[in-house]
């Protein structure tokens, strides 16, 4: 039984290895043709056969980091409330609600983004005074589809992931830690600080997990970011991400080089999310091991 169940379990390993190999193999032409310049140049012109992926990697990283900045304080606040301060009767429905949020399909977030959030962002931009709109961070025509819309949708989507892992981590802090804090006269917040400090690696892991989700998210971002390959600081500029360009151009890739360039973007996206997920697991896992030891 050990051998045949093991053989079937090995299929999962084979799939992961297969993903890595197939992507590497298919991206070969693009890697050979462009080398590192692929990631340094910014011209994306399938007709002329020029492929530079810098705007995409910029858009992916920028939107995910912005989302992280918005989502992290909220997620940790929720985790603290649910693990330390929440009245018992409220806890179950709130936990259920956050879990439900994590399960809503990203296409639904995208639909809401297109028809509700994007017009709201456009209104916001029009309402800003001219001297603010002259600043590089807020410049650009008021179209609504923008980096800011993408970051907000992403933030809404990753809050449930980060907060549920952070809550688990906070729950695993031994009660004696908080009790000791109370015993020396700590206020409620000070006891929470002790718990947060104790759980800091795990919390960092939770944040990284959210980051990994944001990096790979496709549909919702594609629908609101504007799909314009330019690397800009402006929050209101339409930009592009790695996953979005694959979603938009893959079926229309005209020639082998175009297709391979898109696969190379997929390969790098795979590697980045792999590294981020590994780091976050390692952090959460180290914490758990220290607890049981």
């Amino acid at each position: 039984m050990k051998y045949w169940t093991g053989a079937i379990a090995l299929l999962i390993v084979a799939i992961v290895a297969g993903v890595a190999f197939v992507l590497w193999d298919e991206a070969a032409l693009s890697i050979r043709t462009f080398g590192w310049d692929f990631w340094r140049t910014s011209v994306w012109d399938p007709v002329a056969g020029e492929f530079g992926a810098r705007p995409f990697i910029w858009g992916t990283l920028y939107s995910s980091i912005l989302a992280l900045l918005i989502a992290t304080p909220v997620a940790i606040g929720i985790a603290v409330f649910l693990s330390d301060w929440c009245p018992h009767a409220l806890r179950t429905p709130l936990v259920f609600l956050t879990e439900l949020l994590a399960a809503i399909p990203s296409i639904v977030y995208g639909l809401w983004g297109i028809f509700v959030l994007v017009p709201a962002v456009r209104e916001l931009q029009l309402a800003l005074p001219d001297w603010i709109r002259a600043m590089p961070l807020f410049s650009g025509p008021p179209v609504g589809v923008s980096m800011l819309s993408a970051a907000v949708v992403l933030a809404i989507m990753i809050v449930p992931f980060t907060s549920s892992v952070a809550r688990e981590v906070l729950k695993s802090v031994p009660a004696s830690q908080r009790e000791a804090a109370y015993a020396v006269g700590a206020t409620r917040w000070e006891a929470t600080v002790v718990a947060l400090h104790n759980a800091r690696t795990g919390i960092l892991g939770a944040v990284m997990l959210g980051f990994g989700r944001a990096l790979g998210e496709t549909m919702a971002v594609t629908m609101v970011i504007g799909n314009n390959p330019q690397a800009k600081w402006s929050l209101f500029a339409p930009q592009y991400t790695m996953s979005a360009v694959i979603a938009n151009e893959f079926t229309e890739a005209a020639d082998q080089l175009h297709l391979d360039s898109l696969v190379e973007i997929g390969l790098v996206l795979f590697v980045i999310t792999l590294v981020v997920n590994l780091a976050s697991r390692a952090l959460v896992w180290r914490l758990n091991r220290a607890r049981t030891a």
């Binding site: 639909l111 979603a247 795979f270």
Partner: protein, 284 residues
């Protein structure tokens, strides 16, 4: 009470307020999304939506019957191979924790779970679509199956771990071999929980769009052929959402409402089932 203590108490109260505020901040978008999906979706949801196929541009009406069928077929196809592989892998992970393969499989399952769904789409495309130059429902089903696999594996593992060792020891005491103990005693004990986990995994994958974009593509007609392009609820919602037609937007909202209802009902069912299971194991 001195000033310092007052300040500490005040800080504590402020932080308490901030944590409540963050819960509210997270609930506002949820409420808004649900409000819009229900509000805009319910008007467009009619019997036609479930019974008719899409009408050409310009003709009002039509529905997503073919897309609903396509989603069911592809989720079913994915489940057909993800459920057995996932459950058996989960059994392997719990039964042989000391095997050298175990950490590798667990690591692979976690990795696969974190792979962006669009990348899974690219993978299945190069594997199943590119060689035959044909988008197909089969490729879409395989892509969804790959998405489900790590979810089912880890759920099975977690739930098998919850089965009391006394049950297994009882089976051994009666002279059962290991496979017999696992398949006739341990697995059945955990089965209700595993099934709810599987239902959740299916619901979650039914909401996936990215892996289907260039595997199953889309189809405007009623089709059950697995080697032809196949429509799905999610891709259809996407196509309609980015189209310029008001009637299609209405249908996109209706499709979104159906997707949210599926997820909501499955989560609720899973929640109730888990609660019953927990009560049972406490009662034991």
């Amino acid at each position: 009470m001195n000033l310092r203590d007052t300040r500490r108490r005040a800080l504590s109260t402020v932080m308490y307020g901030l944590s409540i505020l963050s819960v509210v901040a997270a609930l506002i978008p949820v409420a808004m999304i649900l409000f819009f999906v229900v509000g805009k979706g319910i008007g467009a949801l009619s019997l036609d939506f479930f019974l008719h196929t899409p009408k050409p541009v310009g003709e009002v009406g039509g529905g997503m019957a073919n897309a609903i069928l396509g989603s069911l077929l592809m989720v079913g196809l994915g489940a057909l191979f993800a459920i057995p592989i996932g459950i058996i892998s989960g059994i392997f992970l719990t039964e042989y924790p000391d095997s050298r393969l175990t950490p590798i499989v667990r690591f692979a399952a976690d990795t696969l779970n974190g792979v962006p769904s669009i990348v899974i789409g690219v993978f299945v495309y190069t594997l199943l679509v590119l060689p035959v130059k044909q988008f197909s429902g089969f490729a879409g089903g395989v892509a969804l199956g790959v998405m489900m696999l790590p979810l089912i594996t880890r759920t099975t593992e977690e739930l098998l771990r919850l089965v009391p060792t006394a049950l297994r020891e009882g089976a051994y005491a009666l002279g059962a071999t290991r496979p017999r103990a696992v398949f006739t005693v341990v697995l059945p004990a955990a089965l209700p929980g595993i099934l709810t986990g599987v239902i959740l995994a299916l619901a979650r994958t039914a909401g996936e769009t990215a892996p289907l974009l260039f595997t199953a593509l889309n189809n405007q007609f009623w089709s059950t052929s697995l080697n032809q392009p196949m429509a799905s609820l999610t891709v259809q919602v996407y196509t309609y959402a980015i189209s310029p037609y008001d009637d299609w937007h209405r249908q996109a909202w209706a499709g979104a409402l159906v997707l949210v209802m599926i997820v909501f009902l499955c989560s609720l069912a899973a929640r109730l089932a888990t609660r019953r299971l927990e009560r049972m194991s406490v009662g034991r």
